[in-house]
Symmetry: C2
């Protein structure tokens, strides 16, 4: 209620100039140790904290970074990625006194405008870019705006852009290999949108793994990561004259919906059909049968992305970060191929 003290109040109370207070706060050389301590003591006593708005103006930095999520609310709803990812970001950002500014926009078009606005108004010092499309115009826009950015996700194409992400490939490959080891030969894939980088990269990984196992590619169905489309893709695959004996889904949500479609039709899992997911969501361990899936350390991923962006903002050299490779978690939804 009482107005917060300003640097002037502290200076007056300590009998020094406000410059001195600033020096003491940011412990810069040029102050006698005794003076510095006296100033800090007074500041503590008055309960003074520097006003971030004033600081932001004078140093021309906002000490905030932005995350824009462009998804229809429906797709957003059950996404297991963001909460953990954001927790990872935060653990690094808050440590450095940075805040995370979140924007949710309904369409890609709005997203471009969001970035532009964030940059032009000087709200953020850098941004994270997620859900990259294969022909995404955002990197170009951000370069034009001169806004430091870190791309979240597998780096596809432009390698000079700093992307941070676990490579999905080995995870999908591990799932395929696991199934091949169980004797499966007709292994289908239900992908996310192949117009998006992480949809495409998982799809590619599946193709490659099949090729490397010396198998034909098997049926493929494109979906959009939602339960709805996961279910309908599964129906299409099961309706094939020669249905697959295993399906590799691009995420857990679609896999769980597919699992229900199968059991609802009386198709035994894993007796007649094996199923794998991707994400290792909490529920995956608790469906019947338990879902074999790929687990990635999203928290660490967030941390790495934040560190990278802060380095970029500070003009430091971003240390190349090593992330845990994805790990296959085998549960009950996969079993030997039917004979």
């Amino acid at each position: 209620m009482t107005p917060r003290p300003t640097i002037n109040d502290v200076a007056r109370a300590a009998g020094v100039s406000k410059g001195a207070v600033s020096f003491a706060l940011n412990n810069r050389p040029g102050l006698a140790t005794e003076t510095r301590e006296r100033i800090l003591a007074v500041a503590r006593e008055l309960g003074w904290t520097p006003n971030s708005r004033a600081r932001a103006l004078s140093v021309s930095r906002s000490f905030a970074v932005g995350l824009v999520m462009a998804r229809p609310p429906e797709t957003l709803r059950a996404d297991p990625f963001f909460p953990s990812f954001i927790a990872g970001l935060e653990s690094v950002l808050s440590e450095s006194g940075y805040a995370l500014l979140l924007q949710v926009v309904p369409e890609h078009d709005h997203e471009l405008r969001s970035y532009r606005r964030l940059a032009e108004e000087g709200r953020v010092d850098g941004v994270f870019v997620t859900d990259l499309h294969v022909d995404d115009t955002r990197p170009a826009l951000l370069a034009e705006l001169g806004l430091p950015a870190v791309i979240i996700g597998p780096a596809l194409g432009e390698p000079f852009w700093p992307a941070v992400g676990v490579d999905d490939g080995p995870g999908v490959a591990a799932a395929v290999e696991h199934l091949v080891g169980l004797g499966h030969t007709r292994i289908a894939h239900v992908s996310g949108p192949t117009a998006m980088v992480h949809g495409q990269s998982r799809r590619d990984a599946w193709s490659r793994a099949m090729r490397e196992a010396g198998l034909p590619e098997g049926p493929f169905a494109e979906a959009d990561f939602s339960a709805e489309e996961g279910a309908s893709a599964t129906r299409r695959l099961l309706d094939l004259p020669e249905p697959p004996t295993a399906i590799v889904y691009a995420n857990d949500l679609m896999a769980m919906a597919g699992l229900s479609v199968a059991t609802g039709r009386g198709v035994d899992v894993p007796g007649r059909l094996s199923i794998t997911g991707f994400d290792d969501t909490e529920l995956a361990a608790h469906v019947q049968p338990g879902l074999t899936t790929v687990s990635t350390n999203v928290l660490d991923w967030g941390r790495a992305a934040a560190e990278r962006l802060l380095a970029l903002v500070d003009g430091r050299d971003p240390a190349p970060t090593e992330l845990d490779p994805p790990r296959l978690v085998v549960r009950g939804s996969t079993g030997p191929a039917p004979s």
Copy 2:
């Protein structure tokens, strides 16, 4: 790359003082229409946007509001609430030029510090308070800090605090009534943490509905909204000498885990056991059998909360917002009580 133009550049180019530019921008009276238009034209031509940092300092506002989420990452992971809720917030905030500042902290203790810091540094003009505990100290802290706040969730106790939320009660009651109508008499409840307001309020609603149906309360198991505890609570209930014929869960995640436990044990759903959830997550419609659950309009909820906070920040009278009441969605997981 080239430094953004400032208000001074615009003033010089238009041949007026910077005050005039400011007046034109915020279209305040006292400028000839012709002058105002000339200034705006010049501004547009130079591509000038007012710097929000400077604006924030001079008007002593940050044009940002904060949302602090204090949850262990595990609980956070699969929460269907936040993504939609945030989308709702955003739709209102961005309209008014406000930004959403997100903080994720691992513990409740950190959360208090987060709020304090946000307020003291002047980063935000107001905050949302979620996951209220029954003995929560945050309202007191925020009052002390003089920070406008809107509590998200059912208002339990302190009615003078502006809370925005759908009342869970009718939703849970509808589920119980639906089951009673199907002939069930032993209806159990698996709750969230009763130390939290929304855990407690759903539990209370269940008790009340049972009482009003003239039934004894039936077995109760406290859990924490997670799939893990939902599953173990279900096991405890099914192990009872006289197991319930229906279970009302406080959220979908626990209900789906419970559903799997039941089917895994060979307990037919809904033949021998009926199950209801709460949230109407995307997957609820796609499990086998489909989950009967309670749907709330979380997007609208977010919108209402944002409108309320902005009103509070502006010192306007917050219009009382009407939210859609929760709606029971009947699917296959509920059926007639076994005879």
